[in-house]
Subunit: 203 residues, 2 copies
DNA sequence: TTGCAACTGGGTCAAATGTCCCAGTCATGG
DNA sequence: CCATGACTGGGACATTTGACCCAGTTGCAA
């Protein structure tokens, strides 16, 4: 195995772990499976991490940070310039997220498993909370931008609106992962966008 | 251990397994943990079930069947008689589900884990699909009743409406399990009811 | 009552798994 | 060039876990 710094090694192991969890599930992400994926030896694992739990904890944090980039709001502006309504903007955002989900369902499944893992112990519960706080924060930014672009004003605290939208996205994700029904997912997105856009009024 | 028929024993083990999964998670539901919960010996387990997997598969089926009873639609009629609108009826239904969730969060968490477990293998994926088909069916019944009681007509196939509502419920569940924010859950319920009720028109 | 099949308890086995040790290797500063 | 410490590879070990065997026991049908 090539030589690398402890930091690089930790990063490489986390990448490998994420691939294993995505492909086979958290339960199958044993230390041996992870180092095999990373092409290292077991000793390297325990040189970089004190325990498997430590890696999983760090994995949760890493993965949340990455998600932030995945759903960027760059295209919002052009859509609004093209005369889209707020509801249309929100729906477009949800559909963009849905494409992200369709492109890599296993990744979202992995995220769900990591959340549930975190929920199972009091020490890790904060990790799950941080994960969702991060989602909400991300959606807040998009909602603020969307409202500005369409000259609307949120009648509720935008965090509240975002929290609702995150819940709807989660529901869309979970149900689609089960039945893989694209049309149904599109209907969920439309209904969610409708409900959320009604939380705004002309500025 | 008292003597009982193979059928009773299987049922008792499934009950015990559900308790263990709810309390400690699927990963901790080892054969030993399950028989300890049931107060039996390991041999009894393997007398009743060929393998742990066989029990888990049966657990998923059992648990779905039980869920059907939990969200009964008895109170719909009285609410409608009191002059509630369709949106109010749907919201009341969601809030009733939410109370169910609040009363036993670990149970819903167990359901989620079982779903994800089923999603992880092609052979078991149909179990998850059946689980959700059962939810949709249940919601369809309630939606049909609610529309009748308020003199409304669904503009979409009621199965589509139900599928959306199931997605919203899932989102409500997942996010609430993380942040335990009752007020936020109530807002999700209201928004979901709003969106769903707009899928109907006066008959 | 008695024979038998259903059933049980305790122990055992092999595999998987998390953790860790130790002898060796390699890069780098002096 | 070489000493030193960071890093690696290959095992080893205890524990957990799923599976299951076998000698006994017990309810029940005849």
């Amino acid at each position: 195995m090539a030589r690398m710094s402890a930091g690089e090694r930790r990063a490489a192991l986390i990448e490998a772990a994420l691939r294993v969890v995505s492909r086979e599930g958290l339960a199958q992400a044993t230390t041996r499976a992870i180092v095999a994926e990373a092409g290292m030896s077991l000793a390297s694992f325990h040189y970089a991490f004190a325990s498997r739990d430590e890696l999983v904890d760090e994995l949760i944090g890493t993965v949340v940070a990455r998600e932030r980039k995945a759903v960027g709001a760059e295209e919002l502006a052009e859509a609004a310039a093209a005369g889209a309504s707020l509801a249309e903007l929100v729906e477009a955002g949800l559909l963009r997220y849905f494409e992200h989900l369709r492109a890599d369902p296993e990744h979202e499944q992995a995220m769900l498993e990591l959340t549930q893992y975190a929920l199972r112990s009091p020490e890790r519960h904060p990790l799950a909370i941080a994960q969702y706080a991060s989602y909400v924060e991300l959606v807040v930014e998009a909602l603020v931008a969307a409202a500005e672009l369409t000259g609307a004003r949120w009648r509720l605290p935008v965090e509240h609106v975002a929290r609702v939208l995150v819940a709807f996205s989660d529901g869309l994700t979970l149900t689609w992962l089960v039945d893989r029904d694209d049309a149904a997912a599109a209907r969920v997105a439309a209904a969610a966008a409708d409900a959320v856009s009604r939380m705004a009024e002309p500025a």
